[in-house]
């Protein structure tokens, strides 16, 4: 009976560091055993770090007009005849170094993806928590709103919204605030994904006795939702977050490709693919193909990580 003999002296608890705790946890173990997850993680961090250190790594700055020369346009990558050695991945139609432009563009795409997902998560988690915890009419109302939102496709909503704002403010203002518009529209269009998942977990969690215990303690609904229920609903939130980041990056690329996203002078992966698309049949395939490849790889590794995380956090396989 260890619980009645504590005063005879229990050995002091060794407090291992956070990192080693993570490394030795179930998640850490499953990560080490899963080569796909390791490779995906490595590739993901390679792309992300390269993108975020673009000002250091990139040989040119695509935002600096003095470094762009239109005469340098459409040089092929170095392994093709007729290339210039200073442009390792060739140049695009405006004469920008493709490698630099891809690095800066990836950074912008990832930032837009993360911010949009943060907005989605904020809206969706708040609405899902309230809906699940309060229940009744509030729940019905919020969930019907989510149903209505889900019945429009994200891209349709985004295209209509962006087209209207572009017409309203003119392309000058629009291109200045394009990042904000994109984050806003992608963030608002996808909140029901979060809201529904969070609501389902909240419904399951609020039946548990620790929530009753918190209510008996006199804690207010806000505190119970945020401090007690939310931390216990995090695993599904993590899983959708990864998938949603990939989705948001794709949405951004699609919108930019359609000319409703980032303007050509602020390269994102989508706008880069789009600007190269005009030249694809004139032989300059690399302007579209190389950023396209980066986009595919980035989205693929995020999705693979999401898959792995879903398996690990599945309560049927892992109980914690």
């Amino acid at each position: 009976m260890s619980n009645s003999t504590f005063d005879t002296g229990t050995p002091p608890l060794a407090t291992p560091s956070r990192l080693s705790l993570m490394w030795n946890s179930n998640i850490g173990y499953s990560f080490r055993r899963n080569p796909v997850a390791i490779i995906s993680m490595v590739v993901f961090w390679l792309i992300t770090l390269a993108a975020f250190f673009a000002p250091v790594l990139a040989p040119y700055n695509p935002y600096d007009p003095s470094q762009i020369d239109i005469l340098n346009s459409e040089y092929p990558p170095v392994w093709i005849d007729g290339s210039l050695p200073e442009f390792s991945l060739g140049t695009d139609d405006q004469g920008r170094d493709l490698l630099s432009t891809i690095l800066y563009g990836t950074r912008l795409s990832i930032i837009i993806g993360l911010c949009a997902v943060a907005l989605q998560a904020f809206l969706g988690i708040s609405i899902g928590l309230i809906s699940g915890y309060v229940g009744g009419r509030t729940d019905s109302l919020l969930m019907r709103l989510a149903d209505i939102q889900l019945s429009f496709s994200t891209l349709m909503v985004a295209i209509i919204f962006l087209a209207i704002t572009q017409a309203l403010f003119g392309s000058e203002v629009f291109s200045r605030y394009a990042v904000l518009f994109l984050v806003g529209v992608i963030g608002v269009a996808e909140w029901p994904q979060y809201a529904r998942t969070v609501r389902a977990t909240v419904l399951a969690e609020k039946k548990k006795e620790y929530v009753d215990a918190a209510r008996v303690m006199g804690f207010g609904p806000m505190r119970i939702m945020v401090r007690h229920i939310l931390p216990n609903s995090l695993s599904p939130i993590f899983v959708i977050s990864t998938v949603q980041v990939a989705n948001a990056i794709i949405s951004e690329a699609s919108l930019s490709f359609l000319g409703l996203g980032m303007p050509p002078n602020q390269p994102s992966l989508g706008s880069l693919i789009s600007s190269g698309f005009d030249y694809i049949f004139s032989g300059s395939w690399w302007i579209t193909a190389i950023p396209g490849l980066v986009l595919v790889v980035l989205v693929l590794v995020i999705n693979l990580l999401g898959d792995w995380m879903r398996d690990v956090l599945n309560p049927k396989l892992y109980k914690g």
């Binding site: 009976m1 260890s2 619980n3 009645s4 504590f6 005063d7 229990t10 002091p12 608890l13 407090t15 548990k208 006795e209 620790y210 009753d212 215990a213 918190a214 209510r215 008996v216 303690m217 006199g218 804690f219 207010g220 505190r223 401090r227 007690h228 931390p231 216990n232 914690g320």
Partner: protein, 347 residues
């Protein structure tokens, strides 16, 4: 309503009822019968017209088989669900129907211990956080050191090493968790503790430990308990007064000693005969025949009539009223009232 607080009961429950609606919303309540669409709502009558008092320092046990409304009574007293009918008075003031901020002072006085210590502790919180949160919440003016001292004192008093405060609930055994749950209830210095089957999820060897801990705490803090259980040997050890419930109605209320030495209601007799005894000079278990009626359609008469060997026409038609006996116990039974009970060949 007024009575002397010094001598009056701490908790007074009058005509308490709880119905849970089965058909929620308009569409579910529409029924097609006899060529017409009618609107009818069904409800589970979990608790029906229950009246009892709990005096200060008592340990009142509520017993009964599963589904008889024991836990519903506990949750209503603790303020987790509101009664459909009836009144609950605590310390002279009516407490049912209180909401939000009005409820806060009461939360410090009435605390609850739950059945399953595996579910009643937040799995994402360490023991220290679990105990510190109510302390911080209810004592906003106190310094961090004072609260820490209080948390350590409470942990020590329930036999938990304060060094465990960095651990999570899943690292502890069931008995240890239940100690933490008791400690959490004690952090706010309550006067009254509602315990909803606090030991039934525990190992038999741990049950006695937790029970004794609760008795120690009763002496140390002058607690009053409302103790829900289905284990009669626990009642004998723990309770000062017993309430026997059947299908949401009171069968018998008596002092523990009176109840165990002289059970009056046929259901109580049957229950007591089921307690395992070491000495074998007791008659065999009484086997009740018949079915428990559904709490959705309650019988018009005595709820126990369908299983009672003494049931007659009056039992089937008229619900017996709780009547006080000479030895202080309260019994709701026509057979006891008419003194037909002596004809019973059980005991």
């Amino acid at each position: 309503m007024s009575w002397d607080l010094e001598t009056g009961p701490l908790l007074r429950v009058r005509g308490l009822e709880k119905r849970f609606d089965l058909d929620e919303g308009l569409l579910e309540s529409l029924k097609f019968s006899g060529g017409k669409i009618t609107r009818q709502t069904r409800a589970v009558h979990a608790v029906n017209n229950i009246t009892f008092d709990v005096n200060k320092g008592d340990a009142v046990c509520v017993v009964g088989e599963s589904g008889c409304g024991k836990s519903t009574v506990a949750r209503m007293v603790a303020g987790l669900i509101s009664p459909s009918n009836g009144e609950i008075h605590y310390g002279g003031a009516r407490i049912d129907g209180l909401r939000g901020k009005d409820l806060l002072p009461l939360r410090k006085k009435i605390q609850m211990i739950f059945q399953n210590p595996y579910a009643s502790l937040n799995p994402r919180m360490t023991i220290g956080q679990t105990l510190a949160e109510p302390l911080r919440y209810h004592n906003p003016g106190k310094s961090k050191g004072e609260l820490q001292d209080k948390a350590i004192a409470v942990m020590k008093s329930v036999g938990i090493d304060p060094a465990w405060s960095a651990r999570y609930a899943h690292e502890l055994s069931g008995g240890q968790r239940q100690r933490i749950a008791i400690a959490r209830a004690l952090t706010v210095d309550p006067e009254f503790i509602v315990a909803d089957e606090p030991i039934s999820a525990l190992d038999v060897s741990i049950q006695a430990q937790v029970l004794n801990l609760m008795l120690e705490m009763q002496e140390a803090h002058g607690l009053t308990y409302l103790f829900i259980t289905h284990d009669l040997s626990v009642v004998e050890h723990f309770g000062t007064k017993v309430i026997v419930l059947y299908l949401g109605s009171i069968c018998e209320v008596a002092d523990t000693r009176t109840l165990f030495s002289n059970p009056k209601h046929p259901y109580t007799k049957a229950l007591l005969s089921a307690v395992p005894q070491l000495k074998d000079d007791r008659p065999n278990h009484i086997r009740l025949k018949g079915e428990i009626p559904t709490p959705i359609n309650l019988p018009a008469g005595c709820p126990f009539a369908s299983r009672c060997p003494l049931a007659d026409n009056r039992c089937a038609a008229e619900k017996p009223m709780p009547l006080q006996k000479d030895d202080g116990s309260i019994v709701a039974c026509h057979a006891v009232e008419e003194k037909r009970i002596d004809a019973l060949d059980w005991v």
